[in-house]
Symmetry: C2
Subunit: 298 residues, 2 copies
Amino acid sequence: MNPDLAFAVWSGERAARVAAVMDQRLPGIDVPPRALHAAMRYAALGAGKRVRALLAYAAGELAGADPVDVDGAAAAVELVHAYSLVHDDLPCMDDDVLRRGKPTVHIAFGEATALLAGDALQSLAFEILGSPAHGAGDTTAAKSALLAVAVGSRGMAGGQALDLEAVGSQCGPADVERMHELKTGALIRASVRLGAACGATWSSAEYDALDRYASAIGLAFQVVDDVLDVEGTAQTLGKTAGKDAAQQKPTYVSLLGIDGARARVDELRATAHAELARFDARARRLREIADWIALRTN
Amino acid sequence: MNPDLAFAVWSGERAARVAAVMDQRLPGIDVPPRALHAAMRYAALGAGKRVRALLAYAAGELAGADPVDVDGAAAAVELVHAYSLVHDDLPCMDDDVLRRGKPTVHIAFGEATALLAGDALQSLAFEILGSPAHGAGDTTAAKSALLAVAVGSRGMAGGQALDLEAVGSQCGPADVERMHELKTGALIRASVRLGAACGATWSSAEYDALDRYASAIGLAFQVVDDVLDVEGTAQTLGKTAGKDAAQQKPTYVSLLGIDGARARVDELRATAHAELARFDARARRLREIADWIALRTN
């Protein structure tokens, strides 16, 4: 099998796997309150790249962990991501109507139910991470605390707050990078760390290298997003295109130009590979994910 | 010292204690993003009855736990409560402008920052509960999962969803009771269980009795709320009075009348005391809290 095809098979299998775990843990739509559970399932299941789950599984492979031991961490990071999208799309935030090619949750279920669905998806992530049924390696309490820091005010939620402050303001590349480090980078780094924590014990040098890998691809993911936001259409993106410019948000493209942004992606991809150089063939999936993120077109 | 005064001293001391723990764990307003951290502190600190923290400390006393071992659980339940109030007050929910005598968070900081502050307060609760610095007794992972279930879609967030569905609909007493069991009862029960889990090991009969105590006082708290909503003024309540009737929400007063609601409180208070009968003098604070909840006037 050629390498690209092998990666596509692996990532498709793992994406289906984490969706099955979430499907199993999300209450059914027949369980009251029905609208809330329907909204949670709508937000978490269905289409989605599952980048964060793939990173957890890939880091778990590097750590020699069985996928079953990574399922809890993979589902938790995807549930947190789903919650963040629901809240980010709300009228008081980005006020977006289209996500992954479907109406956003508040359009489909109303604003109050969308708010509660996001809230409850966050709780479910911690419920799964704290459950003895999932997870091995590092203690589940340490994993919980790690995820909580990554998604709180000094992580993802903090990045969203910086994003709010950035609208219409004069930000330089360093400000934009700091915002993205928190808004998307913190959860991506947590995904790698949680997956890696499901197996082998790491030296701090190894942990740091993995963390720098995760930072590099997290940032690359965001720069590619900015490029695609300019070049893409709603049809290929599955979400409203060109909205950053419309909202006067500073982006990598507005700061560096398209060519500059692409050069930055190449640089970050090279950094990601360099950080993995110390690891053996078990880092294969992490390497492939770095390439996939840098070269993706949607 | 007369018993009422002794309880007032104890509860005042514990309320100050949990506020100090939260103050220490909430990032300072000089830490970016500053508006987010200011909003989180505004929501969590300052006035507040701290019922949930008092329950955790009181259950901890019954369990023979040192207060320092209960601090994490007490802070976590108060942070979750604070987050729920911030989101509950948002325009898409109850759209309230006054809380604890102050402008609500979205009035003071804007809607987007209020949304993120609630989100990040939930994360911080799990961060504290997962931290090795706080807590003893039961494993922190089990505590995390217990709290997550209590606040998620089959707990507090689920109760808020049922509350939304109830507006303007024909609900009987059983529906209203079910809604309150989730909306306020689930977190109150978790507060007692988390506190009790910080010390002694309990038989399942003892755990069940504590849980029935918690259910009774949780419901009593809500019935008293409904009575005060009719009888009180914004000045004594520190929040908008009469809003349930204005929103056509079914309440205990609308279902049972004022006298019927008061009789229900007496019944629930008696149940709470009966459930504690098996415990010795170390259940003193739990008994006092039951009386305080039943007799409170704000």
